[in-house]
Symmetry: C2
Subunit: 361 residues, 2 copies
């Protein structure tokens, strides 16, 4: 379907998939049509697989429901969360593209201060295609943006930067707050448009939100596991956090960069803080032990691929976090299953492997 508003030369058109976890009709895509229509969508349907998800006409997509996931992964489907948007990581696994952009279905097109619609995907691509600077902080932010550069005192040997693995975008309107903060500040809205992209320095952890996130699947894909959340699990709303901590320590080890800042999307609706509190409360106190763990993680030099790093990390999780709660013992096993499933669907000798059977279209 021709659409005159579609950008004539979309960047990375054949190299990027958009992954959307959802339980409802994807009306939100209408607003994104000018920006998303040139790209292929991977829709991961959560919850009742008999429900039919309507996708607006004109989009090129494949859709996987729970039955598809079970059929494709067999027993290994246990590593994919159910009744939680953490299921989105299944989409990362079945993609065959170099880049992934993932977005929540309650996220709409935001406007920049001049009133112009923000093409979030385009900004993510710019972030990913330019290097990162994790080894030294540049005070004028991303030195590769137009109108910016490295400032006086920035070592010249570090100005080539490193490959960017992740671009973490932000949210106007409803900020990504935890349940306690939602309860305390129900009316707070994010109205501050910060015109910056910056590299999160090496050895620094951050809370990665999965709402508006892009990454280089070839560089870091296998680390983007969103854990065990939702149905049958003791926590929720820590899927993206977990992925962020694992991903960051692996990026630091392998020398990849992680950027945060632009682009903004418009986050339309706060989720229910009471429901969120129930999902989060264990995570909130477990986290106090998880952060020191991740801050102290050392990966051996022998780990030179993301998979090797991730398996090593799973061992350390089992050894050091199983004492926090038996959940982490199960999670460590799921991390291994995830890598096995990833490698099965992505045999390293064949980047152009066929799509698994059963992908509906």
């Amino acid at each position: 379907m021709a659409d005159s508003k579609v950008s004539p030369t979309p960047l990375l058109k054949d190299e990027l998939d958009i992954v959307i976890p959802t339980i409802r009709n994807l009306d939100f895509l209408e607003m994104w049509r000018p920006f998303f229509q040139p790209y292929h969508l991977i829709i991961v349907q959560d919850g009742d697989p008999s429900k039919v998800i309507k996708v607006p006409e004109g989009f090129d997509y494949e859709l996987y429901n729970r039955n598809d996931i079970n059929r494709i992964l067999g027993p290994k489907a246990s590593c994919i969360s159910f009744k939680d948007s953490a299921c989105r990581c299944f989409g990362y696994m079945v993609s065959k593209k170099k880049y992934i952009y993932t977005i929540d279905d309650d996220c709409f097109v935001a406007k920049d201060p001049s009133g112009k619609n923000i093409n979030a995907l385009e900004q993510h691509i710019k972030n990913l295609l330019t290097p990162s600077t994790p080894n030294f902080f540049n005070t004028l932010y991303d030195p590769y943006r137009e109108g910016a550069d490295f400032v006086r005192g920035y070592p010249f040997s570090l100005r080539e930067g490193v490959a960017t693995a992740v671009s973490h975008g932000l949210w106007l309107n409803i900020p990504d707050y935890d349940a306690p903060t939602q309860l305390v500040k129900p009316l707070e809205r994010n109205t501050r448009y910060v015109d910056a992209v910056l590299t999160i320095p090496k050895s620094t952890l951050f809370p990665m939100c999965g709402m508006n996130l892009a990454f280089d699947r070839e560089l870091i894909g296998p680390a983007m596991y969103f854990g065990l959340m939702g149905d049958g699990q003791p926590i929720g709303r820590y899927d993206d956090m977990w992925a962020g901590w694992c991903m960051k320590v692996i990026c630091d080890h392998l020398g990849f960069g992680v950027k945060t800042g632009l682009p903004y999307i418009w986050h339309s609706k706060a989720s229910n803080p009471f429901v969120n509190l129930k999902k989060e409360y264990k995570g909130i106190y477990w986290q106090e032990e998880l952060i020191p763990f991740f801050q102290a993680v050392k990966l051996p030099k022998e780990c030179t691929t993301v998979q090797e790093c991730y398996i090593e990390l799973s061992k350390q999780v089992k050894a050091k976090l199983a004492g926090v709660d038996e959940y982490f013992d199960k999670l460590a096993d799921a991390m291994v299953t995830w890598i096995e499933a990833w490698d099965e669907l992505n045999p390293s000798d064949s980047k152009a492997a066929d799509l698994p059977n059963g992908a509906s279209k």
Copy 2:
């Protein structure tokens, strides 16, 4: 002198000195009058001491020229640079206030995107009076600013933050570029107003610019030595960088925070890139060894004061950088002299010590 434009309740009026290094009449203060007039100025006159520096009427100030510095410090005056704005650190030493703001005399009042004059000092004070978050990155930037908070996944145990020692402000118009970048991009101007303040994470170094800088003198003052630059020295334009690296490793060790971002000032005029290149070229290659040095510095637990940290750092400079150039041997000695002079003027048992003789007013 009454001035109706002066803020009725200036923050920290009796607790902050403004330090200005200069070689010329301070006409630039006219534009700053509404913001600076309530505060005490410490003017450090560089170059020919017989020259008379005119200060606009109505400002409360003390002025030190080279003769004053020599008289007050005696032989220890050798640690204060001559014919270089690095001399400004003498002002930090003679101040008796808790906070310092230092600004170059070619920096003017910038406008925010709404066209309003930016009270840079007020923003610095806000930065200094709210905590920093060096141990975990907050994706919505400074969580203590109005309209912002900690995002989901930020550990609650880290939300108290740590005391802020330094507030590093930025520059619109002429960016703070090194000579090679100035030569390559003579027309580049910084027009991007980034509405953010953020903490530079622990263990991350950055290029600290002395043009628009505030700090808590009680917390970190003795680390703010701007080194040996200018007359008789092999380099220039690395004074603030040196102070920034020393300060940052000490802040990291003592658990203090460093913020960068707002406020902006309007930097009016690029300095001569050819002159700058001559001043910088040794620094540009020495720096390639200095950065790994500072990234690897470990201060022993026994160092619990800034002075102890700084003396220890001077020893490591002597041991590990004197091989780079004999200049660092001399600089290490000057670092010790600086601390001796600081302690002489700031006896720890008496915060209310009299001003040294010879301060002209």
